[in-house]
Symmetry: D3
Subunit: 233 residues, 6 copies
């Protein structure tokens, strides 16, 4: 049940029977050969699919996140740390006022991980609310499925190459790429990050069979739905 | 040309020949009988249609804006003033670093109007950049067309009831509603705002013939395209 | 009744019978041949004259506002967006604590217009308070009178040339100046703004007969007084 | 030479021969029987008189400062700490851009003293600028003169009772008041501050002969002028 | 080489031959039966021991961190998210100005993990600097050693019970405690956190033999030293 | 009674009988020939000694403060003004929530003096709390003792040369140094500050007999203890 398909009266009816809401957050940024909106697409879609059978409300994705490390890849605007924190605080605060009580922030972007701390801080002092920050792509079940398929599950490689994030007219390389040198990456400024990762993928294959991707996807959807159903106190 | 359909390499090619970019901003909020995402839908779509023939890059809409006055209508999360300012500053700053030089912020929400001041402030001290803030729904041409059709052109009434913002299963009232008492609205806190506007529309008819709506839409698209082509120094 | 002429005990007595207060805000900035304090003078004076017969309290003008676009004109210090927001929030917050309930912010500077959004945000969540942001120079009555006199009513031209804003020893040009190119202005950084407007006026005549100016002034005073008397819920 | 009496062209001429500027800062707040604007009046006037013979530019007073401790005295709006800091930073930053290099902040309010730290911080990293924060009322010369007259030189008592801060129609008590209990004041919240100081004066006499006041005033003017002339490197 | 044992001249000499610096960060907070300063002690000590043989400069620990979740345990003051971010930004900025180029933030507190994002953001745009955020207690080597000893390696249990964090006069329980219910913990506000964890430990044994603890410690020291020596580009 | 030697259960017991807490704040910065941690050491130690016989809780020192003026002396990281304010506000806020009611901030660094204003602001609006900011090194009793010994009591000279702040292997000059030119210092940016003060001391002797130092120390301890015992309402 997505906000796009509802008006406020329908949300008011919803609040009479439920108090859950999903806020997907992503980032518009380089994903190698894949769409710049990969993180937004995945976060919003995994939320929508998970929530559908439960009839839970899903808000539109916040399309901008923390991606200062990709500054040398055009098309990767970033928020500063404090700004993302302020956005989340404001949204949670105002939704709480409007009657929501259980918040699931579904994150699609590794760089947004620090926001988990803010969500926890926010909820710690609000006894009447619960808030969970969940990065869908590395939930325990998703990781288990993905790493069983191929341990090189990472940024902008096959691991994010879903039918709904690939670009029609773009054919990624058939050959795998050496994996990212993590030690070098850790101390790379934005220019060096681009030197290190070249086309933007963190390495490995660029694509895997859809059947495998759909198994990962299903794990992701299940895991979000599990939280929506049973993640609360 | 929307970010969703591009990867960063394509943006890099684009930057070799162009330096314009469109950032649509909206608000997820009550629109009477219409979609909660009305402002996001309209800002993003008018931008995309205007930019298409010019091949200009359009970013995804920022789906959250300033709407504290609708706090009593569930489904209307708001940013605080400083937060929207910070988001825009960050996005403009980082896009400038990545090579963009001409920024068109296409706004779909009246309450975001103060952000025009921030965009102006940002550009005032950057001689190598230009930034325009344009509220598509009240550009001079749109206003002329819309008010000729019906002077009661306003929030959540027929004026925002486009084929792409109405909800399939919802039938708005056939009869017009008295227009908003603006003097009362000016001094209403959120609770009184809801008392004043009831269903969320600011009054007048709830729908008008699509032919009329498409004329307004065309004026909106034209006006954004005009700015994209000739609005620069 | 101006704060300058009162002590706190007199304000306490006042609060026993009234809860209105006027906060004039301006900007110290270039006004062509006119005083750098034009906006402060006008905002404070129009407030004082309007409030006098009603016995309403008027605070001293905030003499600094948002004027980043005039950065190339010396004598035009500016606040950043967030700073003006913080100042207004603090003043409203602390005055509310002290018993004031109806706030009229009388603005004398076009660039401060975004602050209207903050005032609205502030009031939206305070059911016991009312706050109005009013730019005195473009209230409907003032605009009607001024534009009937001369449609070229603008910044630093005759429209701000009152007996109390002109400088004794300075004689402005007798001939009119071409009006500002608004399209060019919209995309001008601070240096280009100065190139565009040269002496600082936005164009038109530099002075008009005092009789005309006093009619505009009277409309401004009346409009502020009207709000003070009848603008509340 | 006050900004009120100048236009920007005159400031530009001034900057061709000088780079000093005075920014008076005060506070609108309770001063016992005296004007709520006492601090603003004194800071602006002492600056203007000191600067006059030197032809140095004086800006309008910032009429709002840090006075959270007087919250129980109506008519005492306060800025928060960070807000005053932001205002000063913005004003210094933008004036520096416009060609000013030597800044004298003349403070009229004890509670603003922490801002001295901000001024120092600001100047520490700007080798081309100098900035001095001077509380005119407790400069060494003023203190020497004032305490020789009467050691009970304090807030809202005779020490601030100048011909230009007293109210025409208000007669303060003839008898002195016991001095403030400083230990109790140190740990008093706003309500207790009012209980402690009652009418707002910190104690002692409410008035002294004008001849004495003018000697203090002259010391204040001299001290500001001395800084303007010889305080720089 | 700790700042405590040096003066600035010695740091200047140091900078002639080295540009590394270690900033330990911790948190003053409940650690069950252990010292409130456990995180500070461990972060500072592991840094000092690792740096000693290399002669690298270690700054004093920042003794306050992010611990809103322990608000119901007295003696656990917390910073807000934005505040820790600001502290780290300021310290890195000013140390960079003073000649340091390689920064190792050694973190002793799980709740501070989001600050890794800030450190990464800070370094991304500074090509002349490198900055690593390292949580010493869960580096890969430490985890390997610790989990081999006992998989229940967690907050305030045996895993933090070192000779230098235990309190002389306090004897922790001999029996293990059931491990924390992580799902319940995730949605617990501060009051429920206390209900869940009771004495503050996350479960398991309260102490293990010193010989085991020293092996963990050695792994921690080695891992920090490894980063200091070979972690840079 | 220092936090380092306590666990939270002991603090809870403490709160059942007392509600006082001491927060020492310092600065890591140049102190001429003395330890970079001089201010931290002194603030924490004077607090601990004063509190010991009273059994009052002392928190760990905040080791970073406001020292932008020493930017040219390596090893002097600084916080910005707003950052220190935020740290103190957060710590006071969260400690208040945990049951503390009487706060003594013991400051060891002259540059932190503006924070007194924040502490006052914080307490002004909290009727159930008391907060005192005390710079131990210039309390009236300390000043009296110190200036009787030698009026040249200042930064990084003998006045801070205690057995616990001097470095074992460093011998300061035997001869006194001319005192700082305060007028020049006031308008010096960071580079000029270093030129002015050279080795970092503000002038005078570098050391005095321990017997004298211990008399100053005793006055400092007494004065803090006096506040802890009798400084409250």
């Amino acid at each position: 049940m997505q906000a796009r398909d509802l008006n406020w009266m329908q949300v008011e009816e919803y609040l009479a029977r439920d108090d859950r809401v999903v806020l997907p957050i992503g980032s518009t940024e380089q994903h190698g050969y894949l769409s710049l909106e990969t993180d937004n697409i995945l976060a919003e879609r995994v939320s929508a699919e998970a929530a559908e059978s439960l009839g839970v409300l899903v808000l539109p994705a916040l399309a901008y996140g923390l991606t200062p490390g990709f500054a040398a890849f055009p098309g990767s605007p970033t928020l500063r740390f404090e700004t993302l924190v302020a956005v989340l605080r404001d949204l949670l605060d105002s939704l709480l006022t409007q009657g929501f009580r259980r918040f699931l922030v579904v994150n699609g972007h590794g760089g947004n991980a620090p926001a988990a701390g803010l969500v926890r801080e926010w909820a710690a002092s609000r006894p009447d609310a619960q808030a969970i920050f969940h990065s869908w792509f590395n939930g325990p079940k998703v990781l288990e499925v993905a790493e069983a398929i191929d341990p090189e599950y990472s940024h902008a490689n096959w691991g994010e190459n879903f039918p709904w994030t690939r670009l029609e007219t773009v054919e990624p390389p058939a050959e795998p790429k050496p994996m990212l040198d993590e030690a070098a990456y850790r101390v790379a400024d934005a220019t060096r990050v681009r030197e290190l990762i070249g086309d933007g993928s963190f390495g490995g294959l660029y694509a895997r069979p859809d059947e495998e991707m759909l198994r990962i996807w299903q794990a992701g959807v299940d895991e979000v739905r599990e939280l929506l159903e049973h993640g609360w106190r």
